[in-house]
């Protein structure tokens, strides 16, 4: 994933959303989808392009949970901590990831392989605790399964094949 975007590219995104309702959020979402996070230069370019103040843009970028101002790792591990996952042991799953990756939730490993984050609810409550890795869902995760998920992710190169991963760890 490219970590920087040139102004031209951002200009294109701005033009695409120009005038559309709620365009700032959609613009930031698209930048994040391309870079994996919101680089400072990109935010400044959005300010220049939209005429909104930097405070305003920074405010929106930090208000919403899905935006990140920090670069993210190659794999995004999202642990659901909705109520249903919580009562079934979600917090222990987060801690196990934290222990094994040696980072806190919200952080990225120094080798930029993994970012660990918590989410309030992924809406697959019947199968909790739920973990999503790069968009693929794992159900009924416990501490033992965390080890298997990480082992699989580490042993693989290139783009993850979620279904193979799910099969291997279910």
């Amino acid at each position: 994933m490219p970590e920087v975007m040139d102004r031209e590219e951002i200009g294109e995104i701005l033009e695409k959303h120009n005038g559309a309702r709620g365009s700032l959020i959609a613009t930031l979402e698209e930048i994040q989808a391309r870079c994996g996070y919101l680089p400072e230069e990109a935010l400044r370019a959005v300010v220049d392009g939209t005429g909104r103040s930097l405070v305003d843009v920074y405010g929106v970028a930090t208000f919403y949970r899905s935006f990140s101002l920090q670069p993210r790792g190659r794999h995004l591990i999202t642990v659901c901590l909705g109520t249903a996952c919580h009562v079934r042991g979600g917090p222990m799953v987060v801690e196990e990831f934290e222990r094994r990756l040696e980072i806190r939730a919200g952080e990225t490993t120094p080798d930029r392989e993994f970012t660990l984050q918590r989410v309030n609810c992924l809406g697959a409550c019947a199968l909790g605790p739920i973990v999503a890795v790069d968009g693929d869902y794992f159900s009924k995760v416990n501490t033992a399964k965390v080890k298997r998920i990480l082992k699989k992710l580490r042993s693989r190169s290139g783009r993850p094949d979620g279904s193979a991963l799910a099969a291997a760890t279910s």
């Binding site: 709620g22 992924l122 809406g123 697959a124 409550c125 019947a126 199968l127 159900s139 501490t143 080890k147």
Partner: protein
């Protein structure tokens, strides 16, 4: 798809599709909502396609991929029409046998659902206890509709309610029908939908009005909206078309949360198809009625479920709520009149107009008509989405449909209404589920999450969980919410660590009252509910933490310890998973946990097959 330019053309289109349905052809229905996919539905679909193709059975056996049917615990599952044979937890490898059996009209006894209470195998889905107790007016459409094909929705009578409304040319009548149905907002507050529409219809400054579908399902533990969005997106669109005709709104917005990628995808496809067919946009079906619908994606903020915050978010700003009045019905998006309804509310609208307000009003109880979908999750055997008539007893949902506790521990309480709701103890399970009864019991109906808790769930921990959630999600605009939730969380943390005092308990109650009375929006006003309801019904547990320094449920880390009992067979599984190397013992001999090294993560308990790890 050709654009339809008159109501007559639509009727002909619908008749053609309905006639081509041929319901006698055996059809394998595979639910593949987000949870179905997480359970492996996609592999099942691939296997079904392969096996049907391999045997050249195309035309003799059909395959329909749908949204979630509700019984998530048993997914991936297959429903065979027209017999309605139900195969739970199907492995891809079993698909060949299912295809063959279906082709020859046979039923595979060994793959059927076994009723855990009787041990008897059940063939038909409707006889499975989980389904038997439900009234599935909304969820049944999940089985018949392919969400990615508008033809599927139309063939089953879809959009005919909207056409009926447009043909009748009487917006007032539509509002009256919705009023007569008694439909109340399914987002949780229970405001009468018809009344809201009437007020919007009365706004006449000629500068445009908005209708919003609030699909920002933020309550953790509730996911019925996601399943409707994924499984029957056209029902939302049709509901909004009807609403637009009734109220004179010219623009609709579906605000959907970012955490639901599949719902976003299905909605976008459905909207594009409805537009292409001429059901959404300018001059709908050649009439002078126009209505545009946009999709706006949220970016992850719980407070955006609050209507004034939702409006700001739609406008592309920080989702901070504002003081009401003026209410959105007068000044909403861009200052224009705006009515906001929840996903499930919208999904009910076409059914009300199609079957008549009276039929809808007859279901449920007076003042609480219709059905409601609940997500039955947590420590319950049959987890999933259940749809029941309003006024059903909690007991019947938990025990008859839900099948009782998931483990050996007794069910202690059920939490309804998400972070704005409360816990209802098992002694009160005779309560009927409706807006008013739940409010009287100190909880709320909310959007329909029902999280079942057993004796291994600590109520102090639950209150702390919700307060932690709310302090993180408080937008920070008003002081009592921002600081009140933080202070309440600190006190709960102290109590859970065994450092709480009786004075703190009093302070907690006082704070809860202050936050309830003085915060600006619904988030803050309801934030104390989880604390107040657990204090009311489970005060004993709080006192155990404070006075005896014990957590009876064995959850609060600082007050518990792990040990290994006599049933240990020395299998070594716990030794291998223990992250701290705190467990010692020879193979085939009882192991021992070193309490100094133990971090109480519970990994050993989760892998122990002989149930030898104890928490005390």
């Amino acid at each position: 798809m050709k654009r339809l330019t008159s109501i007559g053309e639509f009727a002909a289109f619908q008749n053609r599709l309905s006639a081509a349905r041929s319901p006698h052809i055996p059809t394998l229905v595979i639910p593949a909502g987000a949870c179905g996919q997480a359970s492996g539905a996609n592999e099942l679909i691939r296997a079904a396609k392969r096996e049907i193709g391999h045997r050249q059975l195309e035309g003799r056996i059909r395959l329909r991929v749908t949204g979630c049917h509700g019984f998530c615990e048993m997914e991936p599952s297959v429903l065979v029409e027209p017999d309605r044979t139900f195969y739970p937890r199907v492995k891809p490898g079993a698909m060949a046998r299912i295809v063959e059996a279906t082709a020859s009209g046979q039923v595979l006894g060994d793959l059927l659902f076994t009723d855990p209470a009787t041990g008897v195998r059940v063939q038909k889905q409707d006889d499975v206890p989980f389904f038997r107790g439900q009234t599935r007016t909304l969820l049944s459409h999940m089985e018949t509709t392919d969400p990615l094909r508008i033809e599927s929705y139309v063939a089953n009578g879809g959009y005919s309610a909207a056409i009926k409304v447009v043909e009748r040319r009487d917006p007032r009548w539509v509002v009256n029908e919705v009023k007569a149905s008694g439909l109340r907002g399914r987002g949780g507050a229970g405001f009468p939908t018809g009344l809201k529409w009437e007020r919007l219809a009365q706004q006449r400054d000629g500068k445009g009005k908005f209708l919003v579908c609030n699909a920002d399902e933020g309550d953790p533990g509730a996911y019925m909206d996601r399943s409707v969005l994924e499984g029957n997106p056209h029902s939302i669109i049709e509901g909004m078309i009807i609403g637009a005709y009734a109220t004179g709104a010219d623009t609709g917005i579906i605000y959907v949360r970012n955490e639901y990628p599949l719902a976003v995808k299905h909605l976008s496809i459905a909207l594009a198809q409805a537009r292409e067919l001429g059901l959404v946009g300018r001059s709908i079906l050649g009439t002078n009625f126009s209505f545009e619908i946009d999709l706006v994606k949220g970016a992850g903020a719980f407070v955006c479920g609050e209507e004034t915050a939702l409006i700001r978010s739609i406008e592309g700003k920080m989702g901070e709520p504002r003081q009401r009045p003026p209410f959105p019905i007068e000044r909403g998006i861009d200052g224009k009149p705006t009515a906001i309804n929840n996903v499930e509310t919208w999904a009910n609208i076409p059914l009300i107009l199609r079957n008549g307000a009276e039929a809808f009003a007859r279901t449920g109880t007076p003042g609480n008509s219709g059905t409601k979908i609940f997500s039955l999750v947590g420590k319950i055997r049959n987890t999933g989405l259940v749809e029941v008539t309003m006024g059903a007893a909690i007991q019947s949902i938990i025990h008859d449909i839900g099948g009782g506790p998931s483990g050996k521990a007794r069910i202690k309480a059920v939490q309804t209404g998400g972070p704005s709701g409360g816990c209802i103890p098992a002694e009160r399970f005779d309560l009927p589920i409706d807006y008013d009864s739940l409010a009287k019991a100190g909880s709320i109906m909310g959007s329909g999450g029902m999280i079942v808790m057993d004796e291994n769930t600590c109520m102090v921990d639950i209150a702390k969980y919700f307060m932690s959630f709310l302090k993180d999600e408080s937008c920070g605009k008003c002081f009592p919410c921002r600081k009140g939730t933080q202070r309440m969380h600190e006190i709960l943390e102290d109590i859970s660590k065994g450092q709480g005092t009786r004075e703190q308990l009093e302070l907690l109650e006082e704070l809860a009252g202050a936050v309830k009375d003085t915060t600006m929006c619904g988030l803050g006003q309801t934030a104390p509910n989880p604390v107040l309801s657990t204090l009311h019904y489970f005060r004993r547990e709080y006192l155990d933490h404070i006075e005896r320094k014990r957590c009876p449920a064995g959850v609060c880390r600082d007050l518990i310890s792990f040990s290994i009992g006599e049933t240990c067979d020395g299998c070594h599984a716990c030794v291998q998973v223990c992250p701290e190397g705190a467990i010692a013992g020879k193979k085939k001999q009882r192991h021992v946990i070193d309490p100094v090294k133990c971090v109480k993560c519970g990994a050993c308990q989760s892998v122990c097959k002989s149930e030898a790890v104890f928490v005390a």
